[in-house]
Amino acid sequence: MEALNYFALSWLSPELLALTALGTFLGIYVGAIPGLSVTMAVSILISFTFSWDVNNALCLMVGIFMGGVYGGSRTAILLNIPGAPSAIATALDGYPLAKKGLAGEAIGLSTVMSVIGGFVGIIVLALAAPTISEFAITFQPRDYLLLAILGLTLVGSLSSGSLAKGLFAGALGVLVGTVGLDPLTAEERFTFGVIELWDGINVIAAMIGLFGVSEALHQLHHLDKAIIKQKITRIIPPWADIRKYFPLSLQSSFIGVIIGALPGTGGDIAALMAYDQAKRSTKKPDVPFGHGAKEGLIAPEAANNAAVGGAFIPMLTLGIPGDAVTAVFIGALFIHGLNPGPLLLVEQPHMFWFTVGNLTLANIFVLIFGLTGIRIFSKLVECPKGVMIPLIMLLSVVGAYAINNSVIDIWWMLAFGILGYFMRLYNYPVGPVILGVILSKLMDENWRRAILSERGDMGQFFANLFSSPLSCVLFAAIVLALFTQTPLWTKTLKPRLFR
């Protein structure tokens, strides 16, 4: 009963309600602009809300978080520039839909699915938080390594056409990810003595270049092409569609909430894994993946919003951040005189239900704000090329600078833009490059941690791998993921077994 009181706190107070709404609204736009990240917005709010009441500050921040994760899909669908790495998979099928004149429908569908994902995340947080957080911290470096390798098998899903070209792009990404100070020993790698390279090449700068700038350059080839008229009659997806895709969005949401709850991984990997899983499990998509399959839009959108609830699981129960944004939340709670730690649930039980209530409220606002204004946004795609291309370039430059207030990121963004342009010209997929950069660090660090823990003994490494149930499951998943792509499976076994 008391829990319900705290749950409803932000629903019943007009002030808190308004702040959550404002946060969600701002979040959608912050999330939609590439380079402006939710992490950045929330930490700026720390000093802005310094003298506020803690509840007011939290309402605004939770709103920004929920709205921001959703907002990343907007520019991904409309302009092929993902607002954040967690919206990369959204661009793969969302943008082709926009090019077919279905931007409105795509945004509508992604909104509804994000909200479903958000709710799944919140429900899991409310019901199973302690269990899941205990499970999440048992992930050893070895298990993160296996998870990263499993992530690498996604290259197959992200590359339509030649697998070899996909592998090349993925390997390039892994290589780009190794630039900078060695995360474990601070030794310089591929930095050529340039201090700006110590932190490596920013993945968001690379992403904006590979997706946004290369798209702008590519459109220069089609200046004479007629503008596609956007159909804006159907925006709210029909009930039949929601029912049809509901199982898929549930499956994706569960992937999202678990990956989100792991302290070492977040919404970006969750969305990509859900996309991959959707591609594997969808028997006959109406439209092939990569050409505007609705399944390819639903899976990542449900997963990345479910990861929000997931990220709060270890934060609220153990004081361990589930991702970069919840790490900032921990800082904010400290500033407001609370002790976010394993004792938070005992000392401040109301914080838990207050946050759950807030998240639910913010999720409802995502639905409201997400479904309004779509008509105007879809018109954006109808802009003449002479306006559109400079707009994309401008957005890309501003976004790249905003990441770290550093001009060097603009240069990287442009360089990756040119690289991306040539990759497209010769049919190399750009998605695997970003995947490689994201996974490179995860693999590098955890492989070395795992092998250092065994003092360099490979035999011991595998002995421990096969004696841990969790590692065995992950290992089996990798074997299966690889095996189901071999001709032995696709040509011989699969037709016989699943006739």
Binding site: S43, L184, A186, D199, G337, G341, N404
Partner: protein
């Protein structure tokens, strides 16, 4: 006409007076670490108090990267006019010996060293030892089996271990993490057995019974964890290195006018005295220092000489501290 010239002169005089009065425009605060980190949190909570005293806005910008060297070099590339502040942590004091950069805080003017973290050793609950002496005995009896987390060479954990190993030989397996947060998570999951971390990062976990405190790497007990013995009870010879610990401070470029330094010092001293700032530092387990002027310089020099010589003796310094005339502690 005369009137016009007069008023122009008056205006000029006024504006030059305003120029003399520091500060007459926004001040840029460059934070060495990323948004949401501990340095970021500390600076964002002290800045509003300093703004009130200064009567000017401090625009905070995160310029993370290169273990803080990017922000440090950035501030040193600006004019020495007191309008660009470096808001940083302890890291630059190791730049020279680790070969990361050729400047450190001895090349800047400290405005305020606000707070210091107290290092301690924590262990996972299943570890078969509870005190420093038991830990040493266990490691000696089982060489190579105890996994100790670290935050990379030159990080706090590596220096604490070097400090201990300057007295006793310990054969442990070191597993590096990106910061004490992830390492303490790994400790709870059983991936490592022991972690040298700051008290503030570990205290809540200890109180909740999720890990156990072995010792404080300090020369006295602490009110937050009164039952935990300081390391000097087991290894008294470590006294010469202590008190030691990561710190947060505000710095300006060498050559900044005295009036600006004085005004900034006053502002940040007031900020470090503010009740809510003190409360924040207490809950995070940091000790308030509020040092400026010569005491701040002395503390910074001691920090630099202890860490530089420890990493040098432990064999992972690129340059000898002697090259930079850093005296032995």
């Amino acid at each position: 006409m005369k009137k016009l010239i007069l008023s122009a002169f008056a205006g000029l005089a006024l504006s030059s007076m305003a120029m003399a009065d520091y500060p007459n425009k926004d001040i840029q605060g460059i934070i060495q670490w990323g948004a949401g980190g501990s340095t970021d949190t500390v600076m964002r909570s002290v800045a509003p108090h300093a703004e009130k005293v200064l009567g000017a806005d401090i625009i905070l910008t995160n310029r993370p990267g290169g273990v803080g060297a990017i922000a440090t070099k950035f501030v040193n590339a600006k004019k020495a006019d007191g309008y660009t502040l470096l808001m940083g942590a302890e890291n630059p004091q190791m730049y020279k010996v680790l070969g990361l950069a050729d400047i450190d805080y001895s090349d800047m003017i400290p405005i305020n060293v606000m707070a210091r973290g107290i290092p301690m050793l924590v262990a996972q609950n299943d570890a078969p030892f509870n005190t420093m002496q038991e830990m040493i005995d266990y490691i000696k009896a089982n060489p190579g089996t105890v996994k100790v987390g670290s935050t990379g060479q030159g990080g706090l954990a590596s220096i604490v271990m070097a400090m201990i190993e300057s007295e006793v030989d310990l054969d442990v397996t070191t597993v590096p993490y990106n910061g004490d947060g992830p390492a303490l998570t790994a400790l709870q999951g059983g991936a490592i057995d022991v972690m040298p971390a700051v008290l503030g990062a570990a205290v809540q976990h200890i109180k909740a019974g999720r890990m156990k405190a072995i010792t404080l790497v300090d020369n006295q007990q602490n009110a937050v964890l009164p039952e935990v013995a300081p390391i000097t009870e087991t290894l008294p010879s470590l006294e010469k290195y202590l008190p030691y610990g990561p710190f947060f401070g505000v710095f300006v470029k060498q050559g900044t006018p005295d009036d600006a330094v004085a005004k900034l010092t006053e502002a940040f001293a007031t900020g470090a005295e503010a009740e809510d700032f003190k409360a924040l530092m207490e809950t995070r387990g940091y000790g308030i220092m509020n040092l400026s002027g010569q005491p701040a310089v002395d503390f910074l020099d001691n920090y630099r000489s202890v860490s530089s010589w420890l990493v040098h003796d432990a064999g992972f310094a690129k340059h000898s501290p002697e090259e930079f005339n850093i005296p032995r502690p």
